[in-house]
């Protein structure tokens, strides 16, 4: 049986690891390559790197980070941020990533999902979704709306319908980030996670809100997620990835404990 995955997410700005409450404020909290290696050694099942600079000249610095990571960690990793074309995807895959995450660019141009899946296989294409809870309405019957540009722009697009569309277009996985829960440390938005997980048959990664290992257990149990994305819970050393996984295993979840 597959293990539920624990995936630390590293936001990278100009070659440095950064973490504010995501989407606003930034604080340099270290070297991303060093952090990636530490999480690899602690038993991370995968790592996500997010380029939050996304300017042309910083792109080279970011790809250099990806290459250095690939030379030192031997688990799959995913790269997102600033990817809008098949050529952008190819550059990060050549630098050593296994997966690419597309977010705003996919909402604005859904064909990029199909083009990426055709070129590199569905297993390489993760669609990241930023989701805001709203009153249910005609365009957004689920009460969950897709937002882009770091949560600043509402798209009038229903998150559950968008998730199904991403699967049809060839996405291999969906990373579902709740704007409401993100940064709160009060737990994942489980109703949202469950609604998406029930709507598609591809793996769903829960994102936003992890503050303690119990939340990750909830994401895979109540939320039906295949993986839990985490950030500050491990960045500041409150918990190690092993702590999180041992908690989940003690509660009966299948996680990878030998590495």
């Amino acid at each position: 049986m597959l293990s539920k995955r624990v995936i630390p997410c590293l936001d990278v700005r100009a070659g440095r690891l950064t973490k504010g409450i995501r989407f606003s404020g930034n604080e340099d909290i270290g070297d991303p390559v060093e952090s990636a290696r530490r999480y690899y050694e602690q038993g991370a099942d995968e790592i996500v790197f997010y380029d939050i600079t996304a300017s042309a000249e910083a792109r080279g610095i970011f790809l250099d980070v990806v290459e250095r990571v690939a030379a030192q960690i031997f688990i799959p990793f995913c790269v997102g941020g600033g990817i809008g074309t098949v050529e952008d995807m190819r550059a990060v895959l050549l630098a050593g990533a296994e997966k690419i995450s597309v977010n705003s660019a996919a909402v604005q141009n859904p064909r990029i999902i199909a083009e990426g899946a055709d070129a590199f296989g569905s297993q390489a294409i993760v669609v990241g979704m930023d989701v805001l809870a709203v009153p249910a309405g005609e365009n957004v019957p689920s009460g969950y709306e897709i937002v882009i540009h770091g949560g600043r722009k509402r798209m009038g697009l229903d998150a559950v319908a968008w998730a199904r569309r991403c699967e049809e277009l060839g996405a291999g996985e969906l990373c579902v980030n709740s704007i409401d829960a993100d940064g709160t440390k009060n737990g994942y938005e489980l109703t949202l996670t469950r609604a998406i997980a029930d709507a598609v048959s591809i793996p769903v990664i829960a994102s936003g809100g992890a503050g303690e290992p119990r939340h990750m257990l909830e994401a895979v149990r109540e939320g039906g997620a295949s993986a839990a994305l985490i950030a500050s819970i491990v960045h500041y050393g409150e918990y190690s990835i092993r702590d999180c996984k041992e908690y989940m295993a003690a509660a009966g979840a299948k996680v990878r404990l030998t590495w």
């Binding site: 049986m1 597959l2 099942d45 297993q123 591809i202 793996p203 030998t258 590495w259």
Partner: protein, 213 residues
């Protein structure tokens, strides 16, 4: 030196990064002379069987691989490489290399995992092995170790070759072979320390095999 077979099929650079990290000398190559003189060959692969066999045949590498196996040169197939060492693949109904008896099948739809949850295809993520025969590739690796898989088809070799199986909706063969000719469905180059240990074990075998010649 280990030769990593280059037929433009995906993950050869991640294999090279893992070998570089282990300080195992290696080269990514499609050159028959370099392949023949290597202590062992790693045959990686990502993609579809039909396209991979076409690429191998177009470069004459199918013949090189068959000759290597016939000569007892150590060979390790990975993922798609593992599948197309068999005689036939259901993927694109492809006749394959046939250096090990068996076929490659697609995972059935509607499979369920042990806890009743769906087992969608592809099988992607970390899963464990159940050893069915002793194998030096697994020497020193804890039985509970997990490996990283990404695949929609699975190998079904002659049962005499099965070394380990894995459960995902059904039990399937995840490692097979016999001395010097091995194939792993999972990606050792992406499976953390246990995967690196397997690659190291393969290289150690290659050094000894050469020594014994």
């Amino acid at each position: 030196m280990l030769a990593i077979l280059d037929y433009k099929a995906g993950n050869q650079t991640s294999v090279r990064r893992a070998l570089d990290h282990l300080e195992i000398p290696c080269a990514i190559t499609a050159d028959a002379a370099i392949l023949e003189s290597a202590r062992g060959i790693i045959f990686p692969g990502v993609g579809a069987a039909g396209q991979a066999m076409r690429a191998l045949r177009a470069a004459g590498l199918d013949t090189v691989l068959r000759r290597a196996v016939a000569a007892g040169q150590p060979l390790l197939g990975i993922c798609l490489g593992c599948q197309i060492l068999l005689e036939h693949s259901e993927e694109n109904a492809t006749p394959c290399l046939g250096v090990v008896p068996g076929i490659c099948r697609r995972f059935e739809d509607d499979l369920r995992q042990e806890d009743g949850s769906p087992a969608p295809v592809p099988h992607m993520g970390w899963n464990s092995l159940r050893a069915r025969a002793s194998c030096r590739l697994l020497a020193g690796i804890e039985p509970a170790a997990e490996f990283y898989f990404v695949h929609s088809y699975y190998a079904q070799p002659d049962p005499a070759f099965v070394i380990a199986t894995t459960r995902y909706g059904r039990e399937f063969c995840s490692l097979y072979g016999r001395d010097g000719l091995w194939a792993a469905q999972f990606h050792p180059e992406k499976s953390g320390r246990p995967g690196l240990a397997l690659l190291r074990n393969f290289y150690d075998y290659c050094l000894e095999a050469r020594h014994a010649q």
